[in-house]
């Protein structure tokens, strides 16, 4: 009898391990086989919309196209260091195939088959069109290679177990490509696409749960700065109701708010990229943001407002 129990436990353990392995296994890659002539201009647009240089450009120098990585990205789970994505064959992505790149950007899986940490916002990039990602790859290939390996992430156990990210993805990643809303204008759809895919606005402008997944009911409603001190504003109509579409587009171009105030914190980096997009693309983003229904964000851990204090 005890032997049978022992046997059952072994069997259950093996089954659990099997299920874990199956749940955490990388999915089948999106096929990128059809011949394709990349559009480099669109690749540059994609690069700017995606904000690639905000994290991957070498810190402390002004060249947005020097993608040697190295920026420290603090988070509640540890500190990540943005990798080298320059076309350097040894330290960068110079030897990657196009399929490797599409899979990395849209599924968060490395060429050798391990999961990337979602500090890399592939949860948003997953909604991108494959052609846009192919154009981006072709554009990155035109940039100067930068040598130098970036140090390893500083992430403690258990968050450093990359297979667990497979389960995290099942819980928090909706990998479906963007589907346009036929009842809306082309401008609105372009904005919705940019905001939800490459723009990855929701990654900072939404609160997250204790596992680091976005709380979807409060998407775009702001929350604590995921990189540390401070607060990220609510960009639903709860927070931006007194901004016109023109105000939003102008802010994304210049960093100037309607009340005379200017952008600060991480948004300054975002504007360095978004200001390079076409006015039509910024108008699309503004159109889409104005259509977001007002949603209350998480409560701020703030002192009770004093009498006569408006906010």
């Amino acid at each position: 009898m005890p032997r049978r129990i022992f046997f059952v436990i072994i069997l259950a353990g093996a089954a659990a391990l099997g299920v874990y392995w199956w749940l955490t296994a990388p999915p089948i890659a999106r096929a990128v086989t059809a011949a394709y002539t990349p559009n480099l201009a669109n690749g540059l647009t994609t690069f700017n919309a995606g904000g690639c240089s905000s994290c991957h450009a070498v810190p402390g120098q002004p060249d947005r196209a020097k993608l040697g990585g190295g920026l420290a990205i603090p988070s509640p789970f540890g500190t990540f260091y943005a990798p080298n994505i320059s076309p350097d064959p040894v330290d960068g992505i110079g030897r990657w195939s196009e399929s490797d790149f599409v899979r990395a950007v849209t599924e968060g899986i490395s060429p050798t088959g391990f999961n990337y940490f979602p500090a890399f916002p592939y949860t948003s990039y997953a909604h991108a069109k494959t052609e846009d990602v192919r154009d981006l790859f072709a554009y990155l290939k035109t940039l100067a290679p930068v040598s130098g390996q970036v140090r390893d992430h500083d992430v403690p156990f258990p968050f450093n177990v990359r297979r667990n990210i497979g389960i995290w993805k099942l819980l928090f990643m909706d990998g479906k490509p963007f589907t346009p809303d036929a009842s809306r204008s082309a401008q609105w759809n372009r904005g919705a696409y940019l905001v939800n895919s490459f723009g990855h606005c929701a990654e900072c402008h939404s609160p997250r749960n204790f596992l680091g997944g976005i709380i979807s009911a409060q998407r775009f409603a702001g929350g604590p700065n995921p990189e540390g001190e401070g607060w990220v504003p609510n960009i639903t109509q709860k927070g931006l109701s007194d901004w016109s579409e023109k105000d939003i587009a102008y802010f994304l171009e210049t960093g100037q708010m309607p009340d005379g105030d200017t952008a600060g914190g991480l948004m300054v980096r975002v504007i360095r990229n978004i200001s390079q997009l076409s006015p039509d693309d910024r108008a699309g983003i503004a159109d889409y943001l104005k259509s977001l229904p007002p949603v209350d964000g998480p409560p701020r851990p703030r002192k009770a407002p004093k009498e006569g204090d408006k906010s």
Partner: protein
């Protein structure tokens, strides 16, 4: 008796110092708000929401210069860690990365002088506006924190 006087005196001195610090935080905030008001005043012209008005531009730039000239002194060590009412506070980096902060501060003063020399009409205002905004937001990027 003497002991009481000394204790009360020390306490009063302490209260005085704290009050002076809070006073400085409020003064600093007021100066930043004045910057926002002045930048906003010329920005509505650049955006085309109000007609170009040279006198208003001159006034706004003079206001910006007045603050820019004493900018670094608005952030003495004594107000480190203190928070005013409102949406923002100064990051501790203002003091821990002082040289970088003072470089930004000097850049602000320089940008205002350049803007004063160049802005003569709507076209030059539009051309100069981005540089002026950048000087503000490049500093806010590192040294200003939005309150939680």
């Amino acid at each position: 008796m003497i002991r009481t006087v000394v204790i009360v005196g020390t306490l009063l001195l302490g209260v005085g110092v704290v009050a002076a610090q809070q006073d400085q935080v409020a003064k600093t905030q007021l100066a930043m708000k004045s910057n926002g008001k002045n930048l906003g005043a010329i920005n509505v012209m650049a955006k085309g929401e109000k007609p170009y008005d040279q006198a208003a531009v001159d006034g706004a730039l003079a206001g910006l210069q007045e603050v820019a000239d004493r900018f670094a002194t608005l952030f003495p060590e004594s107000i480190k860690g203190l928070q005013p009412d409102g949406d923002y506070y100064a990051s501790p980096k203002v003091w821990t990365e002082r040289a970088n902060f003072e470089a930004h501060s000097a850049g602000f003063a320089k940008a205002v002088v350049e803007a004063k020399g160049k802005i003569k009409n709507l076209a030059t205002l539009k051309a100069e506006m981005p540089a002026l905004i950048k000087v503000c937001s490049n500093c806010h990027e590192t040294f200003r924190v939005k309150k939680g």
